[in-house]
Symmetry: C2
Subunit: 268 residues, 2 copies
């Protein structure tokens, strides 16, 4: 089941992730800068949605971007090359078997990855060991339970709940945003600070209506239609009504809210 719904591994998903990256770059990453000469590990870079932003914002830092999927890495490399960046190298590896020596990096960056892991604290602990003392980790995650909207709709909430349930069944956690703080603390990081990044959408912000509510969030929920119905989590009719109601929030008078959480901690 995992491969049928986890984000990032087919081309429609790639399209979605590209839209999402464009519209959310400022909100999520405007305050992430790495000093000249610093070595930064990006774990789970996927198709490079964040990699291009990271590389551009810190042109004199050196990035090592890792993903488990060779196909995703190929796309990420293509996009980094297209952007003319020369400060990123790619490595194929699993987060639980990273080919690096302890204390190899000054900073680690992990975005939209922990939500897919059954053992996020174990992963964070591994990443801590790759950091120099006082090196930082930056974690960005969404939280699907942070979604609410007008007009409200029980069907739309039920459709969203399908994604949360499927993600949980696959060992992940779609509500992880609210847990970024305790996870970083439990993994032993110091000076942990978490800030929410809320996306609020109403008719006065047509770029967000289209780029976020429609093409990012609603598209993500639509992506679990088949597995949710196949798993008996919901009737097709109810799911489709939920999607219609999510689309209704993009019409005049509708509003939509979603929150990402960004946490930064230091290695002891």
């Amino acid at each position: 089941m995992r491969e049928t719904y986890v984000h990032g591994y087919d081309s429609r998903e790639n399209e979605r992730l590209r839209d999402q990256a464009g519209i959310l770059v400022e909100l999520l990453h405007a305050d992430t800068h790495y000093p000249a000469g610093s070595k930064v590990l990006e774990v789970g870079c996927g198709i490079g949605a964040q990699t291009v932003t990271l590389g551009r914002r810190s042109p004199e830092a050196r990035f090592t971007s890792v993903d488990v999927s060779a196909d995703s890495l190929a796309e990420a490399k293509r996009r980094v090359d297209l952007a003319g960046l020369t400060n990123v190298e790619f490595r194929q590896a699993d987060i639980f078997a990273l080919p690096f020596d302890p204390a190899s990096f000054d900073h680690v960056f992990v975005c939209f990855v922990l939500e897919h892991l059954a053992r996020p604290v174990a992963a964070l602990t591994i990443l801590a060991e790759l950091l120099e003392p006082r090196g930082t980790i930056t974690v960005v995650e969404g939280d699907h339970g942070s979604a609410y909207f007008h007009p409200d709709s029980a069907e739309a909430r039920a459709a969203i709940e399908c994604l949360v349930t499927l993600q949980r069944a696959a060992g992940g956690n779609g509500l992880i945003g609210r847990e970024v703080y305790p996870l970083l603390v439990e993994a032993g990081f110091d000076a942990v600070r978490v800030s929410p990044r809320m996306v609020y959408v109403d008719s006065s912000r047509p770029d967000l209506v289209d780029g976020f509510t429609r093409k990012t969030f609603t598209a993500m929920i639509e992506g679990v239609r088949e597995p949710a119905i196949a798993a008996g989590l919901i009737e097709a009719e109810r799911f489709d009504a939920g999607i219609r109601d999510l689309r209704r929030t993009t019409e005049a008078g509708g509003t939509f809210c979603y929150t990402f959480f960004k946490g930064v901690g230091e290695r002891r």
Copy 2:
């Protein structure tokens, strides 16, 4: 039923509202300033939780603060006098029968009021008529459906839902925050801009753990225990478990989120 649960009309509630005002002043009101000489109407001032802040931040504006309750007004006056403010006068009146001529004010300010009204658009339309052309209205409302937390708890969510249900039964709307934009538009205001003000609480912010999660939000939910049980909305045991779980979010590793919405519009 209304009088048994609606905020602001007994002394424990007053205590809660005072805590809330202290901790939230910056978040909600830091960007509200009125020019020297401008006439500002504050509707539903209650015990003056916002009045003192408004009067202090715009010392050369002249405020007229209105509430339907003589007891609340007496307390508001006491607090304004205690703060040494001389730019506020008080009037007792109902929002649907305000004793002012059309176009009497340059600005209107309404905070935590619309959530209690069955006809918020009608109220906003009345307020629009009291404004000079291009005068502004500022609306601040919470949204109880914006509350989520770690550890998550079905019982805590059920207890919160009791407040929403009771408020709806009394003609109000505890989920009004997400509707501030469409309400202002429907009432005919121009140039409407809404911004969310999210309160995010984790163990690194003990002032918010105590001042917001415990003494503001959880205290507000506790306040509906008797009417919720009497109305048959929930079993006492389940409600109490919900309160325990809300308190659990104030312990180590817990997190809590809530969002207020602030909207500003102009009279056409």
